[in-house]
Symmetry: D2
Subunit: 488 residues, 4 copies
């Protein structure tokens, strides 16, 4: 399949063979534009391009059939095509209903790669597409070739679908009582599938060699399952590679939060009070960028260590209850739910901007204000109008503002994250049998390798240890350089 991939600098050639229909995208006419942007992105993703070069011949992912659930963006397109260059087959869906870049999806479909994603999907479509990445053409239900053997996940929805579906095969009660709109759609989708294809989920579960997971939230779910011995296969925690969590989460959000807010609202950041909920890596990046433009940044935190870090940077640490009527811009980055409640929103200033860059839209209790009048300003930007006449501006309906209102993280930092993904897929595919049904992180030497593949592009000149120094520090000159618990 990778034979059809056009080189980075050549014009995109949409497949002459127009019979390929195994995809669902918004508009195939965007493919050429998408291909141009992919070509540019490749120049900003040195880690992935280096892997393509290094493994062009050995194709270590040959035989892997990867079900991918991750925001279908330009950067993901470069990831997908890297996986294919390394020998894998893939089927792809987005892991967020608003995050797809339609020109990226079209460019991927134009290469004959099965992809199911459009910006602004319904929840029903979302789960339908998440099912479709598990439907490999080929034999019948029991035929391994008709299922994927790897999952590449972001947020854990693909993994959840297979595991929850399998449990529901045995105990339908687990999907009986949805507690929110998302669960309604998910449970309905599972019920429908079970009615038509009994055993569909467990058949797939049986064939999965493992999953590599991208995000804090998804990883949290995996550890929870590990704790309860419910993991059906090994998992790689890509999120906690240093070159992921300390780069994508921190530096990515530093660049993409304001980008999203600006594209949505054109608002002046300087002089505003911005409240960042959560001072983890994501919150740290957000706070830094908002201050960089002249906002007064306040922070909320539950963890005293992170709170002390915020204080050491000069951010006042406050509570939402106290200040929800004072801030101008609210950003949630907690991974928690209902951090901004109905009552908080009701007390906000007129034209306050409310957005989320954590994982789920439940950080803001959007459901609780659905009953008020919404006035759409432009895509992903809404006024919620309270009975008092006051309005707040909700971005991306509480979903990820950087992906909903802008284009997500920039290519370079995603290259760092995705290079970890590819290395994790390679490790699981090649050595999966040697892992328990537990959650693993990549060994430090691979983490350092990811960094090494990215610094050259930036003109970084690394110092090499002398023999004397290496011996003094008792280190291999080529690393790894730090003990396991080093925090960077």
């Amino acid at each position: 399949m990778n034979a059809v991939l056009s080189p980075a600098s050549a014009p995109a050639s949409v497949r002459a063979d127009n019979k390929f229909t195994d995809y669902k995208v918004a508009d195939m006419s965007l493919a050429q534009w998408g291909r141009k942007e992919i070509a540019i992105a490749e120049t900003e993703m040195p880690g992935l391009m280096a892997l393509r070069e290094e493994y062009a011949d050995t194709r270590p992912l040959a035989g892997a059939r990867i079900a991918g659930s991750l925001h279908m963006t330009i950067q993901t397109a470069v990831l997908i095509e890297t996986l294919i260059k390394l020998g894998a087959q893939v089927r792809w869906a987005s892991c967020n209903i608003f995050s797809t870049q339609d020109h990226a999806a079209a460019a991927i479909a134009a290469e004959g790669i099965p992809v199911f994603a459009y910006k602004g999907e319904s929840l029903d479509d979302y789960w339908e597409y998440t099912h479709r990445i598990f439907e490999w053409s080929g034999g019948g239900a029991g035929d391994a070739a008709s299922t994927p053997n790897m999952i590449l996940d972001d947020g854990g929805d693909a993994t959840l679908l297979i595991i929850l579906g399998s449990r529901a095969e045995e105990d339908p009660s687990v999907i009986a009582n949805p507690t929110n709109e998302e669960e309604q759609a998910l449970f309905a989708a599972i019920r429908k599938r079970l009615s038509t294809s009994p055993g569909w989920y467990s058949a797939r579960r049986a064939n999965i060699r493992g999953v590599t997971e991208e995000t804090t939230t998804g990883v949290h779910r995996l550890y929870e399952m590990q704790k309860k011995n419910e993991l059906p296969f090994p998992a790689f925690n890509v999120n906690d590679s240093v070159t992921k969590s300390k780069f994508d989460n921190l530096y990515g959000c530093r660049e993409s939060l304001v980008d999203g807010i600006k594209r949505a609202t054109d608002v002046m950041i300087a002089g505003k009070i911005a409240l960042v909920c959560g001072y983890g890596d994501v919150g740290k990046g957000c706070a830094q960028s908002l201050r960089g433009l002249g906002a007064t940044v306040w922070v909320t935190e539950i963890d005293p260590i992170c709170a002390l870090q915020a204080a050491m940077e000069g951010y006042r640490v406050v509570t939402m209850d106290e200040v929800c009527d004072q801030a101008d811009i609210f950003v949630t980055a907690t991974g928690n739910l209902r951090v901004i409640t109905h009552d908080h929103m009701l007390r906000m200033k007129d034209q306050a901007i409310v957005c989320n860059i954590g994982h789920f839209d439940s950080e803001i209790d959007i459901a609780s204000v659905q009953k008020y009048q919404w006035e759409n300003i432009k895509p992903q930007v809404d006024h919620v109008i309270f009975p008092t006449g006051r309005r707040i501006i909700v971005l991306a309906q509480g979903r990820l503002v950087n992906l909903g209102c802008a284009t997500g993280h920039p290519s370079f930092v995603m290259s760092s994250s995705f290079t970890n993904q590819v290395l994790a897929q390679m490790e699981l595919w090649q050595n999966g049998a040697s892992y328990q049904k537990n959650v693993y992180v990549l060994p430090k030497h691979l983490d350092e390798k990811v960094a090494r593949l990215h610094i050259k592009k930036l003109g970084v000149k690394l110092t090499e240890l002398t023999e004397e120094q290496a011996s003094y520090l008792n280190l291999d000159k080529n690393g790894p350089y730090k003990p396991a618990l080093y925090r960077y």
Copy 2:
């Protein structure tokens, strides 16, 4: 006319009377969206809104017929409607072929206000529209009512047109030899008008009470004319109000440069080398925002004082000749021409990003690379492909990147600039006779008033001088507070 202006929070009502045709915009169906954004912008433009309130009854601009040439954006729409609320009539064109926001123009036209602007105008249309703001309906050529009596200018093109046209009436040779594409279009437009309406320019010039000018570049032109005693009417230099040059130029660009680059390219700023040409207020804002996101910022300067300022902030001051093959992002902010030459571009790295946030597109010698292959990525984003195969990314064809690729400065800072504009228009309109044919700045107490109208929105609490303190400092408690040469 202002009776039809809808209140900020009410839905836009397009005029029932559809016979109004004295406008040229891209798409009237965008009017409602434009009106929503104008309503939001009003909440961010406290200075203009305060003037509307203060002068609602006295309508100090009654009788003024303003020919306005300034980027037709959402913020300008609030300016226009403020001028009208204060009693003026206006006709409007954009001062840049790429800077119009079509939904803003449509919303203005929908109110029955004559506006001539669309994003991506040809140069011929540009000068045609600049003529049209001087064509008031009413009597014949000699009838004062058929001409404007005030100019509100940005960059000086409207003023230039009237003055150059008038000179050409006497000496056609001044428009005989265009030296570039822009002059070709301008000279041709003047020749055409002169052939059909002899005396058109001088008739208008005679009726103009004065001009208020927005930018460094336009102000520079005015001082040049003053030096040569060629100013035909008094001029207010709005640019050099502190609340303009130290706010719009500095804080506006700090927010809008990266916004433009990001919307155009989605590029990661962190880790890149960004070269800012010119360390005036605009350059200072650009440098700060690029560093805030983790770029290494280098600066070029001709002025040793500004160069020393850059050095004091830790920016290396370099020359383009030395580093044009090392930087990743180039930003011109000089007000000069050919700061980036053909040879510089030829030596740049593959995928280097080149953009301008100064005034004219001549800062980058775009003309010199027109001969190479250009590949359009998306509107305002082009690859220039050199014979070597190397590509650079040119934004907005070298025109203002923040207006061409994003939406310009945010409303709040434009409120500061535009409040100065309105105060200057009021002063000239009411007291124009008391001014010589020179360039003036607003008195400090008005400058302070502009600030005063904006700080409340930000929750600023000003300290008041005690009697003892005012007496010690020999100041009026209500200001002005600083000597004339204070630099802020």
Copy 3:
């Protein structure tokens, strides 16, 4: 005299001739240490050293007898020796009772230069020494050679002494009613001198060709006198050279405020709330450095423009009344008096740190808390203990914290200020007759020259205008580059 000056890198040679006694310093044994530090400072003061080189032969200050009143520090020593190298004779006193560096004073005295200064002078000594810089050896009272012919002033005390003394000769009532401790000492000194040497002041006033003044405060006094036509000679406002006020005030304080606070208290800045009173150039520098270390910075302002600037940088603008019980560190930078009052101090938190980096110690109402218990921690650091048991830490008794608790601004930025001083002395000395009895600033080309003399040391590479560019901008390629009202 300059023959005895040792070259920068050579060891100091104390004059063999031990009969020189025309000085008053704390401890001559510190001279050698002082000389070493002067030698280092010379390497950091490129502007002064360049003037020494440029004018070594022509000695343009030959004949000038300069009465200097300016903090007697290491940097001032380099200034003094530069003046001498250029041909001047000088007599020197400090302009602040706490700012003398005793090793600097000793090193100057060791060269046979009359200097009168020690750290921690009494007010009586202070005014005594200010008189002594006006007592030139030579003829009698009426002999011009027995008086100086130039003043170099900082804060205006030397100028004030001569002018007030002269007025008192005619109208003793002007020194009849001192309103504070400082005036008591000053008036007493004048009365004493008048009783012994009638006509002493006016004899000196008559011989002064002009004054060059260093600071905002001193300049303010000069403009007040100009307004009232009370200036007896022309004055140069050195403070408002760009390369002074925008460098020394801003960058100097950015480095020296925290330095002073740290040497005095070793306190952690991170996490603290720091309140900066006044957001002029000094306040801007202070705020930046405090935030740079992780403080939350709040600002008080009377001027809405400066307040808006503070807000644009993300500092909350508050009033002292509201927050004096919340902040941890208080810094005054206003040039005003009683900005921090008795009641403010009484309400402060235990261990709050209070200091001043404006001009006079009256910014903090120290007099009002003299009645409480003071416990000295170490030199320039006191606990004021309120009856409640709460303590605040007062630095340098409210005088300049950077000079009282540290060593003032670093050499490099003082070189910029002092190069302006020398240029102003040269201009006044050589062309004084062509000036009115008004206050002048240096022409822009000299301002630019000062910058030019300093950038090389920092590796700055200036871009030169091409002919085409200079012509386009209508500028001389060698400057000046900016219009008069440009604010940098």
Copy 4:
């Protein structure tokens, strides 16, 4: 013993009983000044003060005899007195020959606490004093009461002494061949002791229940010993508590590096090129503070991950070989040796400043330039004069610049570190038997406790999880909040 400790706010009372002679300090007359500063420091060390309050009654360290080797500063005085308040006996030495604050040592001795430290100790005295903290008065060599039972270490010298001494008892060859000046002194001290007191080391080693270690370097040594199974007792790695390494190392150095450089040299940071060697927590703090004052900061690194972090913050990553002739200020923060070599120093610019804030003075190869002329400017500040005539300024002879030239980290951040120390001492003392001879870190809930004890002082308001949120995250509302590998 703790009965004699004066309460924080009361004046120090020097023991009436003047017979106490079990100490060695520089000058007992400094005791009262030291006591005043200790009283102030207590107000900035909320963690330690909270422990005093919490454990005043239970005295959990009763019976512990702690041999402490840690910089004898004001902050350490508060630590020492906290240990005593909790029931311990202590004997104390400094772990660095230049880091003692003599007034702090005097104040401790004045309380009758055995302390052996003065600023500028010889290496012989240093090792003599390190022996003395192990000599408890009481019975003979074999009597447990005559030895300590706990070590509190910084850098590992106390631990090293006991372990190396014990090994030398069995195999004298291990101390036969010193390779540098430090080893010469150490080995000589051990030989001397062995000749007079055979079995002295192993007797002590046998009684030690465990060690708590403060620094990266000391911890590194402990892990090396653990790897080789050479640890004779359990060890607590205090350094890797989040509230130590991410606070003291990062925020402490951010405040104390420039403080040290300024007190030593008064140099202007703005405009200089500063090279920071090593971008770990210490290097990160250094880089941030230097940039905050306007330096151009360059970084050297061996670890590609840390190098990429530096690049993401806009620091150019270079090699010493390339740039040693360009930078103005050199700071080592690597924990490595000979990072700055003889040849690097020879190539440096005149007046380049060279200092170390890592652990040992071997980061800079000071030994290699001992052969050149040294000229002392003032304590801890030397010119090294090369045969070329060029001079470099070496601070603290290459030892820790913040402790040698200033007063080390501020109290607040040391409170965070030392609260970890006390908790580790308590855990080891009370539960030491349950630990293996391995290296341990404190459990996360104690780490969070340390933070919790410090945020109140800063006005931080922590958000509490709702039941619903805690359940969603599957967390205890009271923490711990993060997984083990979370990096903060």
